[in-house]
Symmetry: C2
Subunit: 276 residues, 2 copies
């Protein structure tokens, strides 16, 4: 391609950086693809940084030194969190979503790329993941959320399975008790999936009693991995005491059984996430 003008370099810089959050690119990388001097690229990066930060669209961090370079860090504001989370709440409040048994139909929201991209950036803004090695979830409904968190943090995703699979090689399996149903469940993970002494963040779509999250903690112990954070999109208000402590919910769900047997649902953002 021909030599690019400043505007054109900035547009390309933003596209490449924001498609690859938390991935460090060297100045030489951009210098090569744009055919410009490193000093010019340095100036472009300063302008890019200022532009994105002024519009609250995330941070650009430059790292000096031999292994230096530049990376984009997704960062949301409480105001932006409020918009995204209230949008999700409004969609979930629809009475047609209440299923027999009082469950809430929400897979369309959990699998919406547009909404879940924003949810990934919100989670990435809540955790310190500098020393984290993996994002961990359990199949199935939480996978898109966990994957978007992994993408925002530029970390590999690990998915716990309910059954052993031939495509995973030798596995470690544990039993756990689902806190809400009281049923014994099983989860398994390939021995190759997590290196020993890793640090992980657990992400899931939903937490009621916390039995599944507790199961994931137990599995991490089998791999000598430390859980340094837990995030769930939705946590129920009751029971207030869950089987795990220190989890970050983005939304709180309250259910009330009415006299006629129907269920009334209230769902709202976690105040800590949307308050300035």
């Amino acid at each position: 391609m021909g030599k690019l003008k400043r505007n054109e370099r900035i547009a390309s810089l933003v596209k490449i950086l924001s498609d690859n959050p938390n991935r460090t690119f060297t100045l030489s990388y951009f210098s090569d693809i744009f055919g410009s001097a490193k000093s010019t690229i340095s100036e472009d990066i300063v302008l890019t940084k200022q532009s994105l930060e002024k519009s609250n669209l995330g941070k650009v961090e430059t790292i000096t030194g031999a292994s230096g370079g530049v990376k984009f860090i997704p960062q949301t504001t409480p105001q932006k969190n409020k918009e995204v989370l209230e949008d999700i709440c409004n969609r979930l409040k629809d009475k047609d979503r209440i299923l027999p048994g009082g469950f809430l139909y929400m897979i369309d929201v959990l699998y919406s790329p547009h909404l879940i991209h924003s949810v990934g950036e919100i989670f990435a803004s809540q955790f310190n993941y500098n020393e984290v090695d993996y994002i961990v979830t359990v199949e199935t409904k939480g996978i898109p959320i966990a994957f978007m968190v992994a993408k925002a943090m530029n970390l590999p995703l690990v998915i716990l399975r309910h059954e052993n699979k031939v495509t995973e090689g030798s596995t470690v399996s544990i039993n756990y008790i689902s806190g809400s149903s009281g049923k014994i469940q099983r989860m398994s993970l390939s021995r190759k999936a997590i290196k020993p002494d890793s640090k992980v963040i657990i992400i899931d779509d939903f937490m009621k009693a916390g039995g599944t999250a507790k199961g994931m903690y137990d599995m991490m112990k089998e791999f000598n991995a430390e859980v340094v954070g837990t995030g769930v999109l939705i946590a129920t208000k009751e029971p207030e005491k869950k089987l795990v402590n220190d989890y970050i919910p983005l939304l709180i769900l309250e259910k009330e059984k009415l006299e006629n047997g129907d269920v009334d649902i209230n769902i709202y953002p976690n105040e800590d996430i949307i308050n300035i």
Copy 2:
């Protein structure tokens, strides 16, 4: 925020557009958040379009008229496809990946946000999805790929489950025969998940005989939905005749049983995707 300069508006435009591929934004939207006249925004958009297209980073499309606006369309080049797919092949060729039974360990690649983001853009460049309503996959390993395709195309994702779940309401279930193992399997889908007379694209991580894809076709018939395209990350070379026709594989896998019982693996990009 204060009034933005042209550079700053372009940086913000690129970030917002590329985070939300195939989503139309009105000029008024940008005019409001940047505090600039629509005519100014129009000029910014022309510059943004030129910049991204010059660097082969995707297309910017403007739609005129009352419901008009601007959207970003991911578009890769054969050269870029070659880089991404050869990178994946090189990772998968590692002999340590061959598991007992001759299976290939590849979940770390399938769950890598960085690689799978690029795979999503490659698939989005292979299909005409103007009239498509959903991306469809089956749990579990293909979900990250399908979700990234859904994100690139801005379409909702639908995930077929192997078991009925209380959180999905009333479901439709079918049995299908896995083409490779010959075993009868079951898949189910919430009746709410797909509107009648929809058009869908099926995405999965792996195809050997095509039994699972055929099962997904059968399920779509139950919903009166039309499959207009099928994409798989990896298809085996043998059997050449699969249970479905018209699928697009990005990579081809050949396995050879050696005399000592070991398995030799060869994996390479689909020529149609990387040739100019």
